[in-house]
Symmetry: none
Subunit: 401 residues, 2 copies
């Protein structure tokens, strides 16, 4: 957004901003109300009364964002122009690093019988079994013809693999029939540069299949979503902000590392995250992204009451966050996760902007309807939020004389 | 809209949607209220109470859409990138087919005197007279050097003509001085490929002029708006929806045929349209566009009360439409036709989205002001509506992991 004029507008100063993301916080009505409507949120209400509110659309009308695009939009990037491959996201999700030119893929353990993939998910073997198989593979071969192999359990039948060492291009087809009861398929390069990648992928599968031949269910594997790290501008170059991502889950840290934010480890719950925020707030950092997960996971569970409770727990951390006294505080979600959908949705997400120069509008609650009916910000693309963070920090100069 | 990512997001399922279009339903205030404000609409009100509302802009801010762009936007196409030539629209309007490569034009009967077009509208001859002249032309010559000529009365001095048989390109100038009291002008090709088109157009005019030499008023004709069928993606390829257009007027059926929807014939009033909808609803179709005209024609007449009555009549069909029990029902217009303007306008058009996963917002009436003040959808481009239809049908997968 405004990439062509942003570089000449960016100003550096000592203003500090917090972007507090309650993952999947937005909902859809059930019997006329959403989880945010139902929750008791005195701290969010008090903040809303002196803030600007609106609804944002992370990717676009009707589009249900995955976590990758949802967060990239919040960081100010165009999520359609900056697509992150599925292999890279899977690797991020389990905390693996994917350096430029290395190749990441999603893997499934699968069942091969008489030359046919009869179950692409190997009867959903347990995560424990998966861990055991991954260890066997790792012990059996650490490299394939000069390419170092790193493999990590995701859960059940799923794993992530990253091939390190030489530049491996990602323009290859999936080594996965994508449906049960078809023969295995090999990765095929779509261009000359990706020949080595296909070779490595096919070799990996062959060696795993040989190694696991005696397994009953997980006696082969499939690899898909081969992807390189996308070429994306780093966050500080783009915004002038030295950023930190405070998150428990590896996926969000991976996304933040992608744009070169600082990503502290070992913060496994929101209380620790906020503690870390307070501890680092006066340091050499301008922007702190703080991620709260339970609003999403309860929505994914399809549990309205649990999501209400997750929102109420989120509300309780607000006073602690405010203790840092940020110049600008933004509270929002990366997409909706309505409990009625048991998954991500396309609905508008409330956004709250608090700061000295943020218009105190008539929206008195941090809810979808309050934002829509009374919010001064109206309906905005997700990428607009970072523009407002910069503006409210006094970090954007006037455009034109 | 989102053309670059849509193909990978489309999912097929058995969810069914209805798009009910009250042509030109949106208005502008007269003594502070619009026709929708004034109308008694118990069925629309009841539906609004459990739906998402907003205002849409079919083409863009301040742009008054014709019926072509207005409907293309509702079907999910960019109406600026997908322009339909005036000749093609005129032909559609009288139910003529324009196959790819054939050439359609708008025609006027006109008055030629001493080598000057003294009246481009031939004193607005009656439609009956026009029908008689068209018949004489058709009987006199059915082809021009291998090009089959099809001509049809529109009304008064206006007719449509389609040249069939060989590929005729549309890059030619109008054979019309466009102002009275100028000499006739010939069509001139703007490129080599269009030489044959110009030749055919000029020959057609010459033969008509010879044939009608003794007519007092309509003794020549003018042709303009030469156009080929635009190259436009078909609706099912774009959306995954097998679509049907239920409309009385040929223009709307022509538009729907352009994107390869099914277009049943012989449905001359809304009751017959709804009957047909019910009859075909369980068939092999996913999407039903139902068109209601009186809201537009009463607005064009500049008759506020007649438009109110047309809206009230529209309201009465809602229970019948709901009997089909669609997964998603969208009600909107293709543009405003304020009776104060006696024509199409640029004003925002209310849109209502009803479905299991549509947010039930605080907008309790299907009116412009209710949608603007309380609608959760806000102000959206017309093309967003099809995205929301797909999303609410569960026919769009998540974007990114």
């Amino acid at each position: 957004m405004y990439t062509e004029i942003l570089p000449e507008l960016i100003i550096k100063n000592d203003k500090k901003a917090i972007l507090l993301v309650a993952d999947g916080v937005a909902g859809c009505t059930v019997n006329g109300i959403t989880e945010l409507d139902a929750a008791t949120t005195p701290n969010l209400d008090a903040l809303a009364a002196e803030s600007s509110l609106g609804l944002h659309y992370p990717v676009g009308y009707g589009i249900t964002p995955g976590s990758g695009p949802g967060h990239l939009a919040l960081f100010g990037y165009d999520p359609i122009k900056n697509q992150i491959g599925r292999g890279v996201l899977e690797a991020f999700g389990v905390g693996m690093d994917v350096p430029p030119g290395h190749l990441a893929l999603r893997g499934n353990f699968a069942t091969l019988k008489d030359g046919i993939i009869v179950d692409r998910r190997a009867d959903r073997i347990s995560t424990e079994k998966n861990l055991e198989l991954v260890q066997r593979i790792t012990e059996d071969f650490a490299e394939i013809d000069g390419v170092r192999v790193e493999i990590k359990t995701v859960k059940e039948h799923r794993f992530a693999v990253v091939f390190h060492g030489v530049v491996l291009f990602d323009n290859v087809t999936d080594a996965d029939p994508l449906k049960d009861n078809l023969p295995p398929v090999k990765a095929v390069p779509r261009d000359k540069a990706s020949v080595r990648s296909a070779y490595t992928i096919n070799n990996f599968i062959e060696r795993v299949t040989r190694l696991l031949a005696n397994e009953e269910k997980a006696n082969t594997c499939l690899l898909r979503g081969a992807s390189n790290l996308p070429d994306i501008q780093n966050f500080e170059d783009r915004t002038g902000l030295r950023g930190q991502a405070i998150a428990a889950y590896p996926m969000y840290k991976g996304l933040a590392r992608l744009v070169k934010m600082v990503t502290p480890d070992g913060l496994n719950e929101i209380e620790k995250e906020v503690e870390h925020l307070k501890k680092t707030f006066k340091k050499d950092l301008d922007f702190h992204f703080v991620h709260y997960k339970p609003t999403d996971s309860s929505g994914e569970d399809g549990d309205f009451d649990k999501k209400v409770a997750a929102i109420e727990a989120f509300d309780k951390i607000i006073p602690d966050v405010l203790e840092t006294n940020p110049d600008v505080l933004v509270i929002t979600g990366d997409h909706s996760t309505p409990s009625s959908l048991s998954g991500h949705g396309w609905h508008g997400v409330p956004v709250l902007i608090h700061g000295e120069y943020a218009f105190a509008d008539d929206a008195k609650r941090f809810t979808e309807r309050s934002a829509a009916n009374h919010g001064i910000l109206g309906h905005i693309p997700g990428q607009a939020i970072m523009m407002y963070i910069l503006a409210n920090c006094g970090r954007l100069s006037k455009f034109g004389a």
